[in-house]
Every structure is written in structure tokens, then in C-alpha cells.
């Protein structure tokens, strides 16, 4: 061990002792807003093998030899910027890139476009907001998650839903982060719209797999959403009026070039408008709306220190009133997150981010009825997290990343209380407490000119802690006393071999543990689905994923393509027992069964990323299966989200400075469901019997959406606006949301035949939205 330390020390000394090599570091920002740019490339134009990418905070660091260099910074959608320098000492070079245009939904041609080839990680997609905003929308609402669903390997939970299923994983296997805070519920309006307000978002990165070692806790994907920092140059107001909602975004400097803020909010009003018309006994007083609010401030304390404070608060509120029955329901639910971060540069090669994070997801279902009877059903997840991430830019071939984090969980999956005639009854289920911790180390290593490796190792540990009374042993645990500990190593390895300037081969393997689970007994993902922690009875989910891909660019990177294959094997998969009936007599975990799963597939992606025509084609051929000893007598079955074929075609055409057109076509194999196979007479009624689980499919899903964006010319350069005209489901395809059965179809002759009906919810829907900025 001692010898090993000596070797490291000697290597370090040699490394730092290279007197002719200096460090160039700094930030890459948007020139007009001061927003830092994530994932921008900075490289030596004379030797493009030497370069660096900006991290999540727009910081880069690289080592260059003494002498003359032409440094170039590039970022998709921005003009390149070059800086010529004669290097004789460490230097701080900040780049301010011009996008050329502002709110326009246009992808500007970029000079450095070989990320498809040069990036070492597999299954990573970055989506710029301007690309997202140019696509057709449902009811005028730009939706990040619906665009993510258009990527290969990602499928939706159903018509209009924002639920994500990535590479055969369940909806709980996606780590969704908003400024590092976990977002447990990503959907408004039962999942038809996502909680992310496009105006408040700067950057979205999807990792189809465990991602780098700094991420953990979910098996299938990481969706890292970063909020805007706020314009630190000038004040701007941006807004939009749509069919169902309006939004407003204000941002500006607090201290120019030093501190800025952004405030962004939106609210739906479609049922507010119809309130005067809800006069019947059944709907008077019934309303639904959602709102969300994003806020962020940042302050540059010094050239080495920055502070960020950001938060999100969103609520869906449904109320139902029936005057006849004196019955009312209120159903508020939503997320709240807040993140405080401190960026610190120990030196030009050693970056640290320290974060304190709070997040909460809660739903309450409150009902009141006759004679002062009332009830409340609640579910809540509450987390406090402290984490630190370090990046050490050792040299141009090694970037060392390490960190540690600890998250305190309090989960109250179900709390029920009801009160009738003064009698109060509460469910006996106490909250569960846990601490989830991890340490990680990763080296992004350029082994040779053509071969790169990102090797990471993460160790995660989950402690179920008291207060708790065991259902197994009856033992009572005090506060913080450990009830059960799970843990394990989680290795990650990504490799890239560059065959030539246009072709690379990549492979990756990752292993992970998941300790928090969303278990649903429904065929849809719902806000009432509850999150449960690992515990005495619930082991962690585990997953290993292998992937292999070929990446090829054509025509000077104008077209990028990839073919990726993956295989995923999962343990500790959770489902409800076949005979589960929702109840408040047993802890949920007593109703679970555990099994294993596997998913495999091939993804094809072709993207045209520059020119007047841009867009992509994504196709996935895949399978997702589960096996539980106590379900289907141990036979494997396909999951609800198994899609053999899944295809998306996205196209955008810029006609001129005023008009932009876009279209999206999606096709997917039908959603799986469990059919009814037989009828039997018992208890004076006809009863139904299910066939094999998920053995039937709805019709194939397909839909075409189109949009046109018109930007009127104005004399004032400050005032800009855009009209977005969209048609959702252009050819009025009746895609089934579900089918249901009618057993009451006896005719006059006493003959009976069960019937099935499909229900569709979104016909052709034209919409218009007006966005403005000044």
C-alpha cells in the first residue's frame, strides 16, 4: 500500500513539475445573457486533440505547452470564438459566445459538430432549448419530456403522457434532476404536461444508462435539467399566451456581470374560464388548474467563488363538488425543490461544487361528505441532501472527478385519516426514514490519440433508520438507529475508439443499485403512485447494462448517425402480488413480490444538425420482460411498456427569417395490456377472468404533428415576438388510450355478448401560442 502511494506521489510530482506546461482555464458564456454554457468545447485550433469541455457550471481547464496557441471555443447554436495567446504562465480565458439570434426557434449552424464521434459516453443526448421550442406542441405547451420521448430508446407511458420508459426500465428507474434536486413527480395534469417550464430551463442532458459515476440511485437513466442562471447583462421580460395557460419570465442583472436573477411562472386557466358555465349540480365548484414557479439567483463572489440559489414550486389542484351529495374532493399535489450551491476554484485545475438540496413531493387527497365526515389520504417524500463534487484537471489526458453525497429521506407512502361523527381513525403506518450515501471516483482518461476511457467507481450505501417498529420482529428502533443496511460497488466504464475523423466505436458497462422505488398497480403512471424505500422487506433493485455502438458522421458532420445495441439485466424488481387489492390494513411493502427483469434492443439514430433542414430519425427495436416467481406461476411476461418497434421522425425547416416549419411523426407498437379470456357465472353475476399478463396489445400508435412559427418584423430591436401555430394529430388518428369491456349487453332475446370499446382522448387539436420578449 505504501509503495502504491509513493508511485502516485511521484507521478503527481512529475506531472506538476512539467515547467513548460501551463494551465488555461475559465468560463464559456453566452455573450448577450452571461449564461454559462454547459458542454461547450474549447480546443487548440492547431492541435485539435488538445481540448476540454465545460462542466455543469460552464468551467473548463486544460494544459498547454509554452508558446503560441489559437484557442477556439464552440457550442452548438453559437458562433465560434477564437483567442490567440502566447502562453508563458497560467491564464484565465473567459469566452463570450454570440448566438446571433435570441428567442428564435432556429438552430444556428455550429462549426464544431463532432460531439457524436468525440464524446466517450454512450447513450447521452443533449437537447438545446431552442431545438425543443421549434417543435409542434400539444395545446400550445412546449414540453421538454415529450421531446425526450422522441429519442431512440425512450418511450412514453401513453397518449399525451410525460412518463418516460428508458431502455426497458420502469418509470421509477429514471433519475430526474432539476438543478441537482430530485424531481419525484414529473407530470402536471396526471402526466399530460411536464413540470418543466421551458422558459426557465437552460440545458437538458439525458444519459440512457447509469451515467457517469457522480450519478446514482436509479438504474435506467439520468435526466439532468439545469435552470437558467438569469441574464446578467440586461433586463428581459419574456412571456407567452397559449390555449390552456400563460407564462411569464423575468430576468436581469442584480449587479451587472456579477449577479443576476430569473423568475418564471405559468398557470393554466382553461377551467377557470368555464367556471360561470358549471352550474349543474354535479360540477358546480369543480375546477382544475396547475401552476409552477421557478426562481434562481446567482452571485459571483470572486473569480474563484460563485453562489447559486434556485428553487421550484409547483402544484396541481383539482377540486370536485357535488351539491346534491354534499360531497367534495380536493386533490392538490406537486413538487418543491431548492438548491444552494457554492462553486469554488482551489486553483485553475481544481474545481469544487458544494450543494445543499431540499426536495419534496406530496399529494393530499381530501374529501368531505355527509354529516361532517371527512378524510385525508396523503403521500410524501422529503429529502435533504448534502453533496460535494470535485474535478481535478490533472493533465490533458486525465480529468479526475470525485465526490461524496448523503441524502436523508423521509417517506410517508400512505397516511390515511378519517373522521366521522367525532370518531377519528388513522392508518397505523409511520413514515420511514433512511440515509442514502455514496462516494465516487472517476477518471476521464485519454489513453491514446484514438482511445479514451471513462472509468468510474461508486460505492453506495443505504441505511434504513429509526424511528421504526419492525413488522418482522416487533423490535422498536430509536431515532437514527440502523434497521437495515444495503450497499455495494457500482462500477462504470465507457470506452471510445476513434477509427477516423468520422467514425468511432464505443462501448459501456455500468452497474447500479436503486434504493427508492415507485410501485404502481396501474397501467399508467399516476401522481397517486407512491414511492417506497428499501427496508427490511424490500431489497434494492440492481441492474447491469452493457452497450455497444458505432457512430458515424457524414458530409463534414452535417449528418450524424449511430447504431447502439444494449442489454440490461435487473434484479430486485418490484410488483404487487397478483391478488393485491388496495387497502389500508397492510403496509404496502407487505403486498410486494420481487423478481428479475431483462431488456435488450437496438437503437438507430440519424440526425441532420445543420442547414435550413434539420431534424432526426430515431428507431428502436426492443424487448422488455419481467419474471416473478409469484406472478404467472413464474413465467416471464412482457412489461406494459414493451415496444417492439418505436420510431420518431422530427423535421424542421427554416424558410426565411420570419417563417419556420416543423413536424413530428411517431410510430410505436401498441401498448400491452392484460386481456380478459373468459366469463363465469357466480353470485348471480357474470365475472371475468384475466388471460396471461400483458399478452395483448392495443393498436399501433402513430401520429403526425406540425407547427409553423412566424416572427413578425419590428422596427424596435428590443421587442420580439413569435406566433406558434400547431396542429396535434393532423390526420386525426384515433390512438387508443385504453380499452374497456361492457358486460351488460344482453339483448331482448336473452342473448348476451361482451363487447370491448377503445377510448381515445386526443383528436386533431389545432392550437396557437404567442410568445413575446422585450
Amino acid at each position: 500500500m505504501q509503495n502504491y502511494l509513493w508511485v502516485i506521489l511521484c507521478f503527481w510530482v512529475v506531472s506538476v513539475g512539467q515547467s513548460q506546461v501551463y494551465t488555461v482555464s475559465g468560463y464559456v458564456k453566452d455573450a448577450s445573457t452571461g449564461e454559462t454554457l454547459i458542454g461547450a468545447n474549447v480546443y487548440d485550433k492547431n492541435n485539435t486533440q488538445i481540448g476540454a469541455s465545460t462542466n455543469d457550471y460552464g468551467f473548463y481547464s486544460m494544459r498547454l505547452e509554452k508558446g503560441g496557441h489559437t484557442l477556439t471555443a464552440s457550442y452548438l447554436g453559437y458562433e465560434d470564438q477564437e483567442v490567440i495567446l502566447d502562453l508563458s504562465s497560467d491564464q484565465r480565458i473567459n469566452f463570450n459566445l454570440s448566438s446571433g439570434v435570441r428567442i428564435e426557434e432556429v438552430v444556428v449552424e455550429a462549426k464544431k459538430k463532432d460531439a457524436n464521434i468525440s464524446r466517450t459516453e454512450m447513450g447521452v443526448v443533449e437537447l438545446p432549448m431552442n431545438e425543443i421550442k421549434s417543435l409542434p406542441v400539444l395545446m400550445g405547451e412546449t414540453d421538454i419530456l415529450k421531446v425526450v420521448q422522441l429519442l431512440p430508446g425512450v418511450s412514453s407511458a401513453g397518449e399525451g403522457s410525460t412518463g418516460l420508459y428508458v431502455r426497458g426500465g420502469g418509470p421509477d428507474q429514471n433519475l430526474v434532476l432539476l438543478d441537482e434536486a430530485v424531481v419525484y413527480n414529473t407530470g402536471h395534469m396526471l402526466g399530460f404536461f411536464s413540470v418543466f417550464n421551458g422558459d426557465a430551463v437552460k440545458n437538458i442532458t439525458l444519459h440512457k444508462g447509469g451515467g457517469p459515476a457522480k450519478y446514482g440511485g436509479r438504474l435506467s437513466s439520468v435526466l439532468d435539467v439545469r435552470m437558467k442562471d438569469g441574464n446578467n447583462q440586461s433586463f428581459h421580460v419574456k412571456g407567452g399566451i397559449g390555449v390552456i395557460s400563460s407564462k411569464l419570465n423575468i430576468e436581469g442583472p442584480i449587479v451587472k456581470n456579477k449577479a443576476s436573477f430569473v423568475l418564471s411562472g405559468r398557470r393554466t386557466y382553461v377551467l377557470d374560464i368555464v367556471q360561470p358555465f358549471l352550474t349543474g349540480d354535479n360540477f358546480k365548484g369543480t375546477n382544475y388548474y396547475f401552476y409552477d414557479f421557478n426562481a434562481k439567483v446567482n452571485y459571483t463572489l470572486s473569480d474563484r467563488d460563485r453562489l447559486y440559489l434556485s428553487g421550484y414550486f409547483g402544484r396541481d389542484v383539482f377540486s370536485y363538488k357535488s351539491s346534491k351529495q354534499a360531497f367534495s374532493v380536493n386533490f392538490p399535489y406537486g413538487n418543491a425543490t431548492s438548491t444552494i450551491r457554492w462553486n469554488h476554484l482551489f486553483n485553475d485545475r481544481f474545481f469544487m461544487n458544494l450543494s445543499g438540496i431540499f426536495n419534496n413531493y406530496r399529494f393530499d387527497f381530501e374529501g368531505a361528505a355527509q354529516e361532517n365526515a371527512s378524510f385525508t389520504l396523503s403521500s410524501e417524500v422529503l429529502d435533504y441532501t448534502l453533496k460535494s463534487d470535485f474535478e481535478f484537471y490533472w493533465n490533458n489526458t486525465n480529468t479526475i472527478k470525485f465526490g461524496l453525497q448523503s441524502m436523508y429521506h423521509r417517506l410517508s407512502p400512505r397516511t390515511l385519516s378519517f373522521n366521522q361523527g367525532g370518531q377519528k381513525v388513522s392508518s397505523p403506518f409511520a413514515p420511514k426514514y433512511a440515509v442514502e450515501s455514496a462516494v465516487y471516483l472517476q477518471d476521464d482518461w485519454t489513453v491514446t490519440r484514438d482511445f479514451e476511457v471513462h472509468a468510474g467507481l461508486r460505492y453506495s450505501m443505504f441505511n434504513h433508520i429509526g424511528p421504526y417498529t419492525s413488522n418482522l420482529t416487533g423490535r422498536t428502533y430509536k431515532d437514527w438507529e440502523i434497521v437495515k443496511t444495503y450497499g455495494g460497488w457500482e462500477p462504470r466504464l465507457s470506452m471510445k475508439y476513434t477509427l477516423n475523423a468520422n467514425t468511432s466505436l464505443k462501448s459501456a458497462i455500468s452497474y447500479g443499485n436503486q434504493y427508492i422505488h415507485l410501485v404502481s398497480n396501474s397501467t399508467s403512471t399516476l401522481p397517486i403512485d407512491v414511492w417506497v424505500p428499501s427496508s427490511e422487506l424490500v431489497p434494492p433493485q440492481t441492474g447491469i447494462q452493457l452497450s455497444l455502438g458505432v457512430f458515424e458522421d457524414f458530409l463534414n458532420h452535417e449528418y450524424t448517425t449511430s447504431i447502439e445495441g444494449y442489454y440490461k439485466s435487473m434484479g430486485g424488481q418490484i410488483d404487487y402480488a397478483e391478488y393485491y387489492v388496495p387497502n389500508f390494513e397492510h403496509e404496502l411493502e407487505e403486498e410486494f413480490v420481487f423478481g428479475k427483469g431483462q431488456a435488450y434492443g437496438i437503437e438507430l439514430f440519424v440526425k441532420k444538425q445543420s442547414g435550413n433542414w434539420t431534424g432526426w430519425l430515431g428507431y428502436t427495436l426492443s424487448r422488455a420482460e419481467r419474471t416473478f416467481p409469484e406472478i404467472e406461476e413464474g413465467r416471464s411476461f412482457k412489461t406494459v411498456y414493451d415496444r417492439l418497434h418505436d420510431m420518431s421522425v422530427v423535421a424542421s425547416y427554416k424558410l426565411n427569417d420570419q417563417w419556420n416549419f416543423s413536424g413530428v411523426f411517431v410510430y410505436g407498437s401498441g401498448k400491452r395490456y392484460t386481456p380478459l379470456k373468459s366469463l363465469y357465472r357466480l353470485d348471480r353475476e357474470l365475472n371475468v377472468r384475466y388471460g396471461p399478463r400483458n399478452s395483448a396489445q392495443l393498436e399501433a400508435y402513430h401520429r403526425l404533428d406540425i407547427a409553423a412559427t412566424f416572427k413578425p418584423k419590428h422596427r424596435s430591436k428590443k421587442w420580439k415576438d413569435a406566433w406558434v401555430f400547431s396542429i396535434y394529430n393532423v390526420y386525426n388518428r384515433k390512438n387508443p388510450l385504453f380499452i374497456y369491456y361492457d358486460l351488460s349487453t344482453g339483448d331482448a332475446n336473452g342473448e348476451f355478448q361482451a363487447k370491448a370499446y377503445k377510448v381515445t382522448i386526443f383528436p386533431i387539436i389545432p392550437s396557437v401560442a404567442w410568445n413575446f420578449e422585450f
Binding site: 365526515a373 388471460g691 342473448e751
Partner: protein, 315 residues
């Protein structure tokens, strides 16, 4: 309190939200691809102890493919009338006699039909038979375990049930409901059960009607406090009940209500718990819940119960 659970546990309220929110859904008939169906033997049999209890009996029938077109005759033919059925109790074997309804006098036939829940019209066209301990040879006792055996062709059916100990209600009363027609009352019961977990099922009949069950007719006393609990017993919904009618779970003043209050064993409870949930559970948010039967080699229920009858006039 049961209405609360009924509401919470019924996923239809989510569908209601969707409909209220979107108001644009449409539906059309479809014919799903057929699912392979192997005919299964359906058992419905009970061993009851209580006032006016039937002797132990079993109805055997076959299941149908889901999308088959079924006439009254098809239903009638589905009953199995060539089986050997016996019950083993305390090590003794008791044969159940086959009784075919068409051989019975009309009055008895109709009375039996009501009790068995069979449409009397079926008797005209079918050879509808069931199996019963007509001479009451089987001792029906609390805590007794009864083993059912049925041989149908080459198939053997087995099931087991226990008659649990009785748990009587402490009181039964009626209360008016705020906001509802004053001529209606809801039925409430008070129960302070003995120690241990008990499973209950209730039936009710109004005036001269037949016993019916609510859409959720079974529950346990697991959440009851030490002092017991007062709870609602909604009126079972009849075929003529109008959905959305606020009085559909209430009794009318002047009605004579007969409540059949029974304790059942866990397997019996699990069967009705899953069957009743399964009946209500369809739609986009439906879940996948199978019916938990205690019958081996077939489906259905062989259930023991100990019950009490409470008669009252709604005031």
C-alpha cells in the same frame, strides 16, 4: 366509513378527472384478438350456520370464452349435472345429492331459485342441477373445517373452508343524512370485536326482497380501536339502482331491513375481496388483480360462514 374506502380504492374517480379535464374523449367498439380459452370448472358452494341456513350445497358450472355469444340456453347448459360431489368433515365422508330444479314443485323451485340466485326462466329450458346435503347429514359447527371434493369427468376439484367463531354486532341503528331527502336513512352498526383478527361479510334485504351484497361486502376489524367502531353499512345496490342517485346506499323510512351479518375465514374473505375489486376495476388506470380462489382444479369459492340475522324497521 366504508364509503371513504370505496371511493379511494375505486380508480374510476381518476377517469372522472380525465373526463372533466378534457371532455374530448371518444369511444368506439373494437374486437380484440381472441385469447386462448380452456374451459374451467366453476364452484360456488357454501356451508352456513345461522338462522334459516341452507344445508351445505354446491353449484358447478363451466366458464365461457369471453367474446362468445351466449343465449339463455348456453347459460343453462353450462351447469354441470354429472358430477360426484362429497364433503369430508371430521374424517367422515358425506355425499351431496344431485337435485335438479325442474323436478321440484314450482313453489319450491322458485324459492330455491331466489336463494341460489338463479333466474327461474332457466329452469324451463335446462337441466339445471346442484348438489346439496338434502338430509342435513353434515354437522355444521363453528370452527369446523369442511373439505369439498368433486369429480367431473376426469377432473378432480378440491377445496377447504372453515366456519369461524361468531362475532355479533353490538347495535344497529339508522341516521338521517345531511343534504339528502329526509325520508332516507343510512344504516350504522356498532361493533367491539373480541381479540384477534376477524373477517366479515354482510348481506341485506329490504321487505320481501332477496338478500343482496354491497359492491364491497367484506372487511376486517384490523383497524378497529380497542373501543370498537361505529361504521356505515351501505344498502346493497340493486339492478334498478340509478348511478349517481344520492339515496342509492340508503334505506327508506318504514322499510323492514333484514341484515345477515357473517364471519368468514380468510380464504373466503380473500375470494370476495379480490372478486369485488376485480368487478369494478377497469379503465386506463385499472390494475391487474386476479381473483384468489380456494378451489384447486377449478375456480370459484367453497365458503363457510357463521351468521346472525338482524331485523329492523327503518325509523
Amino acid at each position: 366509513m366504508k364509503w371513504i374506502l370505496e371511493f379511494l380504492l375505486n380508480p374510476s374517480w381518476l377517469s372522472m378527472i380525465i373526463i372533466v379535464l378534457l371532455g374530448m374523449s371518444c369511444e368506439e367498439e373494437v374486437i380484440p384478438p381472441p385469447v386462448e380459452h380452456a374451459k374451467e370448472i366453476v364452484v360456488e358452494g357454501y356451508v352456513e350456520k345461522g338462522e334459516g341456513a341452507m344445508p351445505p350445497y354446491v353449484i358447478l358450472s363451466y366458464s365461457f370464452p369471453f367474446f362468445s355469444k351466449l343465449s339463455t340456453e348456453d347459460f343453462a347448459k353450462s351447469f354441470i349435472n354429472a358430477a360426484e360431489v362429497y364433503v369430508v368433515y371430521s374424517g367422515n365422508r358425506y355425499e351431496l345429492e344431485k337435485v335438479c330444479l325442474k323436478d321440484l314443485p314450482v313453489l319450491l323451485r322458485e324459492q330455491l331459485a331466489r336463494q341460489l340466485g338463479v333466474n327461474p326462466a332457466l329452469f324451463e329450458s335446462a337441466d339445471l342441477c346442484f348438489y346439496i346435503d338434502l338430509m342435513r347429514n353434515i354437522p355444521v359447527e363453528e370452527k369446523g373445517t369442511y373439505y369439498l371434493n368433486a369429480i367431473v369427468g376426469g377432473d378432480t376439484i378440491k377445496a377447504e373452508t372453515t366456519i369461524p367463531e361468531p362475532v355479533e354486532l353490538d347495535s344497529l341503528y339508522y341516521l338521517p343524512v345531511v343534504g339528502v331527502d329526509s325520508s332516507y336513512r343510512e344504516m350504522k352498526a356498532s361493533l367491539d370485536p373480541p381479540e384477534g383478527l376477524h373477517y366479515y361479510r354482510y348481506f341485506a334485504k329490504v321487505n320481501q326482497g332477496r338478500f343482496q351484497t354491497a359492491s364491497r361486502s367484506v372487511f376486517t376489524d384490523k383497524l378497529f380501536s380497542e373501543e370498537g367502531l361505529d361504521f356505515r353499512l351501505p344498502k346493497p345496490e340493486g339492478a334498478d339502482t340509478k348511478p349517481g342517485d344520492p339515496t342509492r346506499f340508503l334505506y327508506e323510512v318504514g322499510d323492514t331491513v333484514t341484515l345477515k351479518w357473517s364471519t368468514i375465514d380468510e380464504a373466503h374473505y380473500d375470494f370476495w375481496r379480490t372478486l369485488e375489486y376485480n368487478r369494478q376495476n377497469q379503465g386506463p388506470f385499472s390494475s391487474y388483480t386476479r381473483v384468489k380462489s380456494n378451489v384447486q382444479g377449478g375456480i370459484g369459492i367453497w365458503g363457510g360462514m357463521r351468521y346472525f340475522i338482524y331485523r329492523s324497521i327503518v325509523e
